[in-house]
């Protein structure tokens, strides 16, 4: 991505909110970035279009998965010198509680940093950080600076 390549060439970190806003699906979901130094929290603002079960109501499992995947990708961009968007190889999502119709937050951690593949864990929560609604673990292909 041009934004990433430009930041790499200048030796600076890319503005993650700008990067997320350049991704149409992330803009559609309404994902916001809250970065404090090396600590990154992603925010998914509640919107009716994110509902998967209108009876409960609960967020769509796919939305939670997409949000966690985006959180993992953002963390990888923050911590690696990737010049392209990291690509998911495989992901596993555990759904722990139903996602209520409120804002959701997520953080990710790189468990293993390989040369080409990184293993990442991410967790999403709503009211209480200690009561996660979903957890993701996955492998991502990261193309480093040449």
């Amino acid at each position: 991505m041009e934004l990433l390549q430009r930041a790499q060439a200048q030796g600076t970190k890319v503005d993650l909110q700008k990067l997320i806003d350049a991704i149409p699906y992330c803009r559609f979901l309404g994902i916001q970035v809250d970065r404090k130094g090396s600590e990154l929290t992603m925010i998914l603002r509640f919107d009716r279009k994110l509902i998967g079960n209108p009876m409960l109501p609960a967020l769509h499992g796919g939305v939670i998965g997409a949000f966690l995947e985006t959180t993992a990708i953002a963390q990888l961009i923050l911590e690696t010198d990737a010049t392209e968007l990291p690509k998911p190889v495989d992901i596993g999502i555990d759904y722990l509680r139903s996602g209520k119709p409120v804002d959701t937050y997520a953080r990710a951690e790189i468990t293993k940093h390989g040369r080409r593949v990184c293993n990442v864990r991410a967790e999403a929560w709503q009211d209480e950080h200690t009561r996660p609604i979903a957890a993701l673990h996955g492998h991502f292909l990261v193309k480093p600076k040449e």
Partner: protein, 137 residues
């Protein structure tokens, strides 16, 4: 259209076919679903939504009575990027349902299911109806 599911309607999911335990859905290509603006490839999360929803419908269609269901876990292997501007299909099969849990596998593809974009396996919780008797005393 899956009008009763707001997010499914928002991304444009439509039914292709449903028979007992097997569901096929279609996701028409849309610019708003793109995950990489350089290539126009849809976001992996869109595939997650398509596969999760398709699995849920396969589970629902395998049940003899209406029961609320919830995804317990979903594992997705991404085989290749989706081709930009092409519609994506998903086929899910609920191959086993016990009294509490249903097991499903699914594939996302363009035209040939033998050349998958992604495959998934999932487990769903089969809940009892939400109306519970009130506790006495």
């Amino acid at each position: 259209m899956l009008d009763h599911v707001p997010h499914a309607a928002a991304v444009g999911l439509t039914f292709v076919s449903v028979e007992r335990g097997i569901a096929v859905l279609k996701l028409p290509y849309d610019e708003k679903l793109v995950g990489n603006p350089d290539t126009g490839v849809v976001h992996g999360g869109v595939i997650t939504t398509l596969l999760d929803n398709c699995c849920g419908i396969a589970v629902g269609s395998s049940l003899t009575e209406m029961r609320p269901i919830a995804t317990l876990d979903l594992r997705i292997d991404y085989m290749r990027p989706a081709t930009p501007k092409e519609d994506i299909f998903a086929r899910a099969e609920c191959y086993k349902a016990t009294s509490n849990i249903a097991f499903v596998r699914a594939t996302a593809y363009h035209t040939d299911i033998g050349d998958p974009i992604a495959t998934a396996v999932a487990a769903f919780m089969l809940n009892t109806a939400i109306t519970r008797p009130q506790k006495q005393g």
